[in-house]
């Protein structure tokens, strides 16, 4: 196919992914990686590195807005990153090892990602708590200076919040980093529930912290792929701006359409991708 046709087609597909992800409130990475691994013949390492670059770039840019508005707590982001980043590095090395060392490595990646996708769908349907009530922060959170406040326009007042289960959350954060590095997925689908339901951060702060944390974890994982030569700059140059444009358009029209319906469409796309990943992985494994 001619590049003059091929590039705009890929760009248009990326815009659609960004639009869909934004309308459903999930990152583009969690749609891009499963779709490309399930329905194209692209090298799994290249797809995962592009997925990580996509998740990192969108998180860096969106995270800056959350941090500037005080909706992301920088201390919590750094604490979480110190668990997520090493796990993401380990995950990226594991992912590269599996595809290089085993003849059926790509099939194993597809099969396990298919299974993970079902977990993501479940987590996306978990109900979140807008303002969890925590009378007091735990000792570690107090020592690290986590309790803070933010301006809530809907209540027209400053909301103070406490943080609990800091130590327990670190295990979850490391697990999210490992999955993120291993499969090249953004981890917002897991980080928001960890921040909101385990550490009891208000939902808006949980979303802000999640976005800002993802950028750090994914940057650590991305470097492993860069060093192993699994990054195709041209693919990033097409996919990342496309998804970002789609997400920007999506955030503008999100208020005018039924968000719940879009969420079900995205969950449907994820389930179809998961089934295709499992079928294709099984076929390749037993071929």
């Amino acid at each position: 196919m001619e590049p003059l046709l091929f590039v705009p087609l890929l760009f248009a597909a990326s815009i659609a992914i960004g639009l869909l992800g934004s309308l459903a409130g999930v990152g583009g990475g969690v749609i891009f990686t499963p779709l490309f691994l399930a329905f194209t013949a692209a090298d799994p390492d290249v797809v995962r590195s592009t997925g990580l670059a996509l998740a990192m770039t969108t998180s860096v840019i969106a995270g800056a807005r959350y941090l500037a508005a005080g909706l992301a707590n920088f201390r919590i982001v750094l604490f979480a990153s110190s668990f997520m980043a090493p796990a993401a590095i380990m995950g990226a090395y594991m992912g590269l090892y599996v595809t290089a060392a085993f003849p059926q490595g790509a099939a194993l990646v597809r099969l396990s990602l298919g299974a993970i996708m079902f977990l993501i769908v479940v987590l996306l349907t978990v109900r979140r708590v807008e303002w969890p009530e925590v009378p007091e922060s735990d000792g570690l959170a107090r020592r690290l200076g986590f309790p803070s406040s933010y301006w809530e326009p809907s209540l027209r007042r400053t909301v103070r919040y406490n943080v609990r289960n800091t130590l327990q959350a670190s295990a979850f954060l490391a697990a999210v980093g490992l999955i993120s590095g291993l499969f090249g997925l953004g981890g917002g689908w897991a980080l928001v529930p960890v921040y909101n339901l385990v550490m009891s951060l208000p939902l808006k702060v949980a979303v802000g912290c999640s976005v800002a944390t993802l950028a750090v974890g994914d940057a650590a994982g991305l470097w492993v792929y860069v060093n192993s030569g699994a990054v195709v700059e041209q693919l990033i140059a097409i996919v990342v701006p496309g998804v970002m444009i789609g997400a920007a358009v999506g955030s503008r029209i999100a208020l005018r359409i039924r968000a719940r319906a879009m969420r079900y469409i995205v969950i449907g796309v994820m389930v179809v991708s998961a089934v295709q990943l499992l079928v294709r992985g099984a076929e390749e494994l037993w071929a």
């Binding site: 013949a41 941090l67 860069v226 060093n227 140059a237």
Partner: protein, 117 residues
């Protein structure tokens, strides 16, 4: 501006510069050597890795390489930007966490783990 805002601004501007350079590189490749762009993308999506299609010219290679470097380094740039702030405020907790995270990404960026193998 708070320390988080400072980090966010430095990191996001670096990422945006990297993104623009990558797009410039891609457009230059399509204008000067469309066959190499087509070869690379089709080979990549066809399942090949490290397809030897080349960049075409230095006009393409330089922005592509620098763009990827800027994009992948954006978080490190943000963390480095907040270090003087943490030192000035004598915020030891913040300084320790920034140093840990920066060291982790640097280890990954320099491929120290791979070299150790």
């Amino acid at each position: 501006m708070g320390v988080g805002g400072l980090y966010g601004r430095a990191a996001s501007y670096t990422a945006l510069v990297g993104m623009v350079m990558l797009v410039v590189g891609l457009l230059a490749q399509m204008a000067t050597a469309p066959a190499t762009a087509s070869c690379l993308l089709q080979a990549t999506l066809g399942g090949e890795r490290n397809a030897e299609c080349g960049y075409g010219t230095a006009l393409v290679a330089v922005p592509m390489r620098l763009g990827l470097l800027a994009l992948a380094s954006s978080v490190m740039v943000g963390l480095i930007a907040v270090m003087p702030h943490a030192v000035r405020k004598r915020d030891i907790t913040l300084l320790i966490f920034v140093s840990i995270v920066l060291a982790l990404i640097l280890v990954s960026a320099l491929g120290v783990v791979r070299i150790a193998h």
